[in-house]
Symmetry: C2
Subunit: 348 residues, 2 copies
């Protein structure tokens, strides 16, 4: 077997490469040292906070392993773990960095620790493989939506209302590559910020009054009128948004409802809208969605999927795909050039 | 197949767990949300410099993939890559962190990028699995030393003179678990700092004069008299060491030679000392080692191993082990409780 080895040592001089043929003995085919560009070396040597991130990575590995044990499911019955980890940075679109265009992401929660503590093969770090194929590393949930909700005759939309709301559009009798997915706009995050901890059942919004002039102005945002693919960041609907618009709870709820409804209206053949995420608990918002949308509205619970657990289920399913050496991204959703096997496998 | 999925979302509330049974369909067995302790949540939200580290991680992935191509070996002949990456933090011994004892390490150089650019399955992140098994995550090189140099009748010592010098003691006719490995003390790093870029062939040291009083005092350091396992950090022989001792080039060379010689003298049955690392190029130091040591002295080049390429070769060999689901650490060297399959596999 011909195997290449790569390392840069603690002196941070450059990359040592060796190519060897391995059978009973080790035969060196080629060696090479490639110095780092000076600006790269300087950037590596000036990294800060690596200690804190490294320690958190190992600590979260312990906590993730313990969280699995809190389910009460006997570990010896679990054959595989898929762990997304905790995102501490995500930049799906490339930026200029030391003379190159670099997109990047970072999730922590050390998979080697999860595997060692549970004794179960663990797959983690799902987003980088999609990004290495030119994708945004997100959204990944359309893969699960497609598996769960595809139907030979009914066109469906999976709607997840988390901090941001997003939809996966699954045409009737479609292939995975026909799926469209994008962020519709705010989900719960403006409401959560206005009514902490959060206006769970929406009664606060029901008691309020929609500020129609403000709402009309907000709906003018070109984002809502642009065709997909598109995604919006959490920063778009943060404290700055609340301060500059002076938005109230009832108007925030209506903004979420109207931007979801107009996004789904782009797909008039839709027969079912299947809701998940924290927003599915908001009775008032669900009523408003039913009033604003023509298709049948239900929740993922009808399909046996707890509305709060869809993302955790997703990473179990993506791990299953990787275990079988099958792709887990949907290029039409992430923008990747091609399907990719996602994640990294820690064997036991 | 029963698979668990784990995620903590961008709201950093806690860990969502789902356990599902997957065959033709997806059956949810259990779900649970485990909130983060407040101090952990605060620590995650206060991480800094993650953007810089994430971007460097992806950039180094590109550079590592390109470095392999610089060897001129046709990529289509390479079946597997083992990449150590660039260490930006290593703390092999646990420290108190948010109420737990945590050992940690961090290597960057995104393996998903290396795999995507080369089209070759890539294994990376070798140290965490040893640490998850209670080891220091280092040294890993004894595994290669044992494979290369074990002998039915001759006891051998592999001596690597990098910034720090370390030895792997391989008794005649030994098993892997009989191997002993430890840092002997400074290698080239004091010399390098005194004669930048470095006193490659040792002529500067040869022309100088050893300060015997200082040398005797330095050799009194209890570290050199302590039995293994033991390891010393780069910080021990840095600018502070040079400033407080006033050490010169000839004395620094002799300190390296004498601490190596006394370490090897602990193993009087040693028949061969096999040198690798940058120090093997230092003619004067090699002469001094020959004078100070009884065993035959040679370099790894006699075994077909370029003295500068041993670590890169190591990670090719460790990847080969992992590919075959075999352990790659030597617990007696790293302090791990047991052998572990090292690294994480990025499939293509």
């Amino acid at each position: 077997m011909r195997v290449a080895g790569l390392i840069s040592g603690t002196s941070v001089d450059g990359i040592d490469v060796a190519v060897v043929d391995i059978d009973d003995k080790i035969q060196v085919v080629a060696t090479k040292t490639v110095p780092y560009p000076t600006d790269v070396r300087d950037a590596i040597l000036s990294v800060s906070d690596a200690a804190n991130i490294a320690r958190l990575n190992f600590l979260l590995g312990e906590l993730f392993a313990e969280a699995l044990q809190h389910t009460g499911v006997p570990l010896e019955t679990v054959e595989l773990i898929g762990s997304h980890g905790q995102t501490i940075f995500h930049e799906g679109q490339p930026v200029e960095f030391l003379g190159r265009k670099i997109a990047s992401t970072m999730q922590i929660g050390e998979a080697a620790v999860i595997a060692a503590r549970t004794g179960i093969e663990t797959i983690a770090d799902f987003r980088p493989s999609d990004m290495a194929a030119g994708g945004n590393g997100a959204p990944l949930v359309p893969f699960l939506d497609y598996q769960l909700f595809k139907h030979p005759e009914r066109a469906r939309v999976a709607l997840n209302i988390g901090g941001i709301a997003n939809i996966t559009v699954i045409p009737a009798n479609s292939r995975a590559e026909d799926v469209i997915a994008f962020d519709t706009g705010p989900g719960n995050m403006v409401m959560d910020a206005l009514a902490p901890p959060y206006d769970g059942d929406g009664e606060g919004a029901r008691a309020g009054r929609v500020h129609e002039v403000l709402l009309t102005k907000l709906l003018d945002d070109p984002y809502y009128h642009r065709p997909p693919p598109k995604s919006c960041g959490r920063e778009q609907y943060g404290a700055e948004f609340i301060r500059t618009t002076g938005i109230d709870l009832a108007t925030a709820t209506e903004l979420t409802v109207r931007t979801i409804a107009s996004s789904i209206a782009r797909y008039p053949e839709t027969a079912d809208v299947i809701v998940s995420g924290g927003g599915a608990h908001n009775r008032y918002m669900m009523e408003r969605l039913r009033a604003a949308l023509r298709p049948r509205i239900t929740t993922s619970a009808e399909f046996g999927i707890d509305v709060d657990a869809k993302e955790a289920i997703l990473f179990a399913v993506l791990a299953y795909q990787t275990y079988h050496r099958r792709p887990g991204n949907i290029p039409s959703a992430t923008g990747a050039r091609k399907p990719a096997i996602l994640g990294k496998v820690s064997h036991i």
